[in-house]
Amino acid sequence: MKTNLYFRRVAVIGAGLTLFRRRMLETPQELAWEAVRKALDEAGLELKDIDCVVIGSAPDAFDGVHMKGEYLAHGSGGVRKMVSRVFVGGATGVMVPNTAWYHVASGLCEKVLAVAEEKMSPARPHPQSVFRYIWDPITEKPLNPNLIWIFAMEMHRYMYVNKITKEDIALVSVKNKKNALNNPYAQAAANITVDDVLKSEVLVWPVQLLDTSPVSDGAAAMVIVSEDVARRYTDTPVWIEGVGWTLDNTEWTGRELAYPRYLEHAARMAYKMAGIERPNKEIDVIEPYDPFDYKELHHIEGLMIARRGEAPKLLKEGVFDIDGDIPSSPSGGLLGVGNPIAAAGLMKTISIYWQLKGTAGRMQVKKPVHTGLAQAWGDLMQASTVIVMRN
């Protein structure tokens, strides 16, 4: 894609998270309020200073409330303001800052709240049941599939094409759950071994319990502003330098599942905007979307940080460890922090923002970092969103 656009520089100056937990006592609106309050406090702004609000929430069906954007508006600070809601399934969490970016980059707004919330606990018998909506009603639904089914098929195809073992993949879960021990918001932090993963309950072969992220409730918020505002409010703004998003064909049965083509396109868009030519050399820290352990590897390849099939080798060499060359999911990711769908992607973006600001606390990676990337993925395995930031 050739772009010939003029746009303003955009910065992040504040962020907030709630705990990620199953069955939180707060309502979705209360969760959103808590995250936004913290983000405003970090930015040093009040709600009256905000021009517009971008709300991200994946399908309405999770919270069990129709028109969730409207429902969340007062908890997100959107009352009598310009409000947009975006939703591209699991990819929503990074689509929220991307959307906030173009609200500011275009010159339309100066100060935007980017808010993501998801409450997975209300649906019965299980949050998976809300995914009954997403299948082809004629050719797929009669088998009563759930998402773990198709991820299992994708995982198996990835393993087969690239000759990758379950042991190789389990290392992601081990790494991320361990990283999450440093994250005060995390739900599923643990010191586990590859053996623990391989001995955990088989859900849908080859997906086992410890290959997956948990059911979570949670919210996340960011304050995203123009360059002028950023300079007035902070000495350490973090710049949004590249954004990208794409949607591949919903006909997932027609795609080569071993490689996330949808992501390569989104990444190329973001890299071009950020002037990145060699992602594996120029990006210091990454938060690829990891609802399942194989997905982190899959996505590292789609981001072109590793060649096809080579992510497991680099992982084993320690490249993606918290003290490695390219720390991956230093927050603990969805496997370790939890997976309130839209909020999880924004949590990843916030994690990179805190890394680049140098305020990630015990999550802070060892080496100095200048360029970071967060990514999310969703819908019927075909939506992808990427954000590149620099300090």
Partner: protein, 142 residues
């Protein structure tokens, strides 16, 4: 021309399937707990903003204007009918035996309102007495 104008359902090549979550269990939330516990003790609990003083009914955890955490207070101001309607059919379109009066009850000097079944001679602006503290409220026109 569309199918619903010319088609006959049984004659179309169609597939029957249900795609819904079976059930939801909702959390009443932090403010909701205060409010529902209040009802148990025949009290209306609101959320009062420490900054602008606005009182939300039912209780709200935060002020949507000032975005600060509210205090929980008992609302003792006069309840009155803000507006009302008369329902003649149920949600499946069946005629009710007796029309049902439903009103929006507000409390003086507060923000928000609660729905109620009303007894007595309903009129906008009239003060009501709360007979049963539940959802919906049951009230009688004073």
């Amino acid at each position: 021309m569309s199918w619903d104008k010319i088609g006959i359902e049984d004659k179309l090549l169609s597939w029957h399937e249900i795609m819904e979550a079976e059930e939801y269990v909702y959390t009443v939330g932090v403010a909701g707990e205060e409010f529902f516990n209040g009802l148990k003790h025949k009290k209306i609990i609101g959320g009062k903003c420490p900054k602008c003083g606005r009182i939300y009914v039912p209780a709200r955890l935060y002020c949507e204007e000032c975005f600060v955490k509210n205090d929980f207070v008992e609302v003792t101001t006069k309840p009155y009918i803000d507006t009302y309607t008369v329902v003649y059919k149920d949600d499946e379109g069946n005629k009710l035996e007796k029309p049902q009066v439903i009103a929006l009850i507000r409390f003086e000097a507060t923000h928000g309102g609660l729905l109620a079944y009303v007894e007595g001679e309903v009129n906008i602006g009239k003060e009501v007495e709360i007979l049963e503290y539940k959802i919906p409220l049951i009230v009688r026109v004073k």
